[in-house]
Symmetry: C2
Subunit: 154 residues, 2 copies
Amino acid sequence: MSQPSVHHDSFTIERTFAATPERVFAAFADPVKKRRWFVEGEGWTVDSYEADFREGGFERSRFRFNDGPEMTNETYYHDIIPGRRIINSYSMTWGGKRISVSLATVDIEPDGAGSRVRFTEQAVFFEGSDGVEGRRQGWTELIGKLEEELTTHP
Amino acid sequence: MSQPSVHHDSFTIERTFAATPERVFAAFADPVKKRRWFVEGEGWTVDSYEADFREGGFERSRFRFNDGPEMTNETYYHDIIPGRRIINSYSMTWGGKRISVSLATVDIEPDGAGSRVRFTEQAVFFEGSDGVEGRRQGWTELIGKLEEELTTHP
């Protein structure tokens, strides 16, 4: 029996933040804020980062962890509702090889004085990817960095 | 309890065709062939169709069924392996309103003298969409048209 060349999977992470929906949205929309929590970090080198946050715009970054191979992220924004919703698709490469293509939804709602955010990723993983559990772990770390961004840059 | 503004779902349709993987791939890659089975059809009016089939290229179409509202499809090609795999993301509008964003995988394998093809769609549906069952039905019809294209234009 033959095998498909890809593996499909998905996950949702739901979190609440003390920040308003407008502030959570701004952490994605403002390229200075987004770069700070999304690509910067201890041990990471950012080779390039460019963001055009609008429907039909691209965000492209190249980065590496310590002496590891270069990774790239190319994101295309399909659907944006300010303060409410962001839907993009993105592909990642590792050492020059494509490892995944994903459809990502950020769904933001008011929750008391703060926000409830659902991060949903529907993805196609290729050979050489660490698959859905690695991706979920990566997003869990990124959401922690987003929370730190919201706390330290009010 | 608040509700997300979107609904996520996915499906896979597996089919075998008498045509080789190269011929199935060409029905997606060649804009003359693709237009014939993907947007043309009895009762359909094609207002525009442009295709740039390459990684990083867009395919955009505007069409309507009988006197219905205009529908649009904007497709972005993330990953292409000739004769083997096509991964794109696409958004659809109906009467000027976005109804869905999808990640679509076409996985093609040899199967005897023909091909086995897995169509996988991972999608986000918005209010006003007929959801995953309508989309699966739409793809079932399109796959029938693809089969007709492979039979009538060998």
